[in-house]
């Protein structure tokens, strides 16, 4: 059963009409945003049902990884563990949220094929499902973030409101990237591999595991033009008690506007077809 009691579907009536229909889809998904939450919770809960630790696995595996990398690479780079572990912990957690949202975006519509082909559920619902699922995972990782902040003392100097603002920028941008790859992956099945390669390359090119001040000044473009760096910096820096460069916000705001415009117009143009791609 659909909650919509009236349904009207028509053929194409020009570009403006397609945009209106895409907006209607968005609005419908927001009216039933609790459905996207339920779907996301279902994903998390059903993945860990029957395991002893349940979703705590997410936290523990992440904790082990943070500790291992923090200790080892801190040694490699000869920086004090005291600075490096919080840096790596925040980096892995928030970078993981960005890449997780993007990588899992490839599956958003493909996984929902069954529901999309026999209900009138909004397509945006499944985009939010992927975003929310990653936010729920992030919620579990925040335990580690908190533990690290408290243990290494930076919880006193952290600027939480600025970090929260950074998180909003992060989610806004990760969401359009996720939706973009969702649409393209539905049509072209080799896209997920390409997306994976890109996010893997990004993990190396972005100061997640290595301190940004290690990079020579003449290579600074690697940071300045790297969207992942800005996404990460907007959340990580304030939590470490550091400032965020104004051009980071400029970059992220511009990226969100351009990215959503691009993604939304692609959606408006392909919305009718997506279900047939699957």
């Amino acid at each position: 059963m659909d909650t919509a009691t009236h349904m009207l579907r028509t053929g194409r009536r020009g570009a403006l009409f397609e945009v209106q229909m895409a907006l209607r889809d968005l609005r419908a998904s927001l009216q039933r945003i609790d459905l996207a939450w339920s779907l996301a919770w279902h994903d998390v809960v059903s993945r860990y049902r029957g395991s002893i630790l349940g979703p705590l696995w997410i936290t523990i595996s992440m904790g082990v990884m943070v500790l291992g990398i923090g200790l080892l690479w801190g040694e490699v780079f000869r920086v004090s563990v005291h600075d490096f572990i919080p840096f790596v912990a925040l980096g892995i957690v928030f970078f993981g949220t960005v890449t997780g949202t993007i990588n899992e975006g490839c599956d958003t519509f493909v996984q929902a094929a069954g529901m999309l082909s026999q209900t009138s559920l909004p397509m945006f619902t499944f985009v939010w499902r992927t975003v929310f699922r990653n936010l729920i995972n992030l919620g579990h990782h925040l335990v580690i973030v908190l533990a690290v902040l408290v243990y290494f003392g930076s919880w006193r100097t952290a600027n939480y409101p600025v970090a929260a603002m950074g998180l909003i920028f992060l989610v806004l941008n990760a969401a359009w990237l996720s939706m973009l790859v969702a649409i393209v992956s539905a049509r072209f099945r080799d896209i997920p591999q390409i997306v994976q390669s890109i996010t893997q390359a990004a993990a190396i090119m972005t100061p997640v595991f290595w301190p940004p001040d290690r990079i020579p000044a003449r290579y600074h473009l690697i940071l300045d033009l790297n969207p992942f760096y800005h996404l990460l910096q907007a959340v990580r820096a304030p939590l470490m008690g550091l400032g965020v460069a104004p051009h980071t916000y400029l970059f992220l705001a511009g990226m969100a506007v351009v990215g959503w415009a691009l993604t939304f117009s692609l959606f408006a143009n392909t919305r009718r077809r997506i279900v047939h791609y699957l």
Binding site: L8, T10, S117, S120, V275
Partner: protein, 249 residues
């Protein structure tokens, strides 16, 4: 405010499938002599199958329409279009009332999740709140007859058990418009009997039923009208008593 009466209205409904990665010419050669399937055509460089063309259909409360036709004649496509999943390429579809589509039982089932989780999922998608689902859970569980298996992942079920679960979950919600595809012959004889009773009740409750099937007995049992599809072109809607003539035509 009184809700408008349950109805379905399709006007000049045309629906085409884009087919990707196919050479239309070679495909056409193969299919030229075959009578099943929609019409293949090429437009804007992409191959398209016209699954429904210029279909007109008006149904009101009390109508129980049977869809007949060869494989590939467009029955499933019409049902998916009525569910709101497929957008028309031309024409309009208008549906008043809650729609429940029982098209492919296994679609929408998450094989890694437990039976209970799948029932919950299905209920949420159908628009029930978590509380409403909890209230109905015992009844659905009992009807499924799966007992302790409901706490196990669905991938451990046999095909018949999966069908039981899907059927129980999908039929737990009242609907005004019920769309069913030809899967009804699922499960063992036992389940067939109770499924039949439940379907009859559902059909009574639903304002409109559209059922696609090859099974003449089944159509006579559930439907009062029939329509025949052939290559995406629909016949007129006629009373069920004309079923034999329609099939022979």
């Amino acid at each position: 405010m009184k809700a408008p009466p349950v109805s379905i209205s399709c006007q000049d409904l045309t629906l085409r499938f884009p087919v990707y990665g196919v050479d239309a010419k070679s495909l056409k050669k193969h299919l030229a002599k075959i009578t099943v399937g929609g019409k293949l055509a090429r437009s804007h460089g992409a191959t398209e199958v016209t699954a429904l063309s210029n279909l007109n259909l008006e149904l009101k409360a009390g109508d129980r329409l049977g869809l007949v036709g060869h494989n590939g004649s467009g029955k499933t496509t019409l049902l998916r279009a009525l569910s709101g999943a497929y957008e028309p390429d031309e024409g309009t579809i208008e549906v008043q009332g809650h729609v429940a589509a029982l098209l492919d039982l296994n679609l929408g089932i998450d094989p890694t999740a437990t039976g209970f989780d799948n029932i919950r999922l299905r209920g949420r998608i159908a628009g029930l709140s978590s509380k409403e689902i909890d209230q109905r859970l015992p009844e659905i569980a009992e009807f499924s007859g799966l007992g302790a298996f409901l706490a196990m992942p669905v991938k451990t079920y046999s095909a018949g058990m999966q069908a039981r679960l899907a059927f129980a979950a999908a039929t737990a919600v009242e609907a005004d418009v019920l769309l069913m595809d030809e899967w009804i012959a699922v499960g063992d004889a036992d389940f067939q009997k109770i499924a039949h009773r439940r379907l009859l009740k559902l059909v009574e409750r639903a304002g409109i039923l559209v059922l696609a099937s090859h099974d003449v007995e089944l159509l006579r049992l559930y439907c009062n009208k029939v329509m025949r599809l052939e290559g995406g072109v629909a016949s007129a809607v006629t009373p069920i008593k004309n079923l034999d003539e329609l099939m022979a035509a």
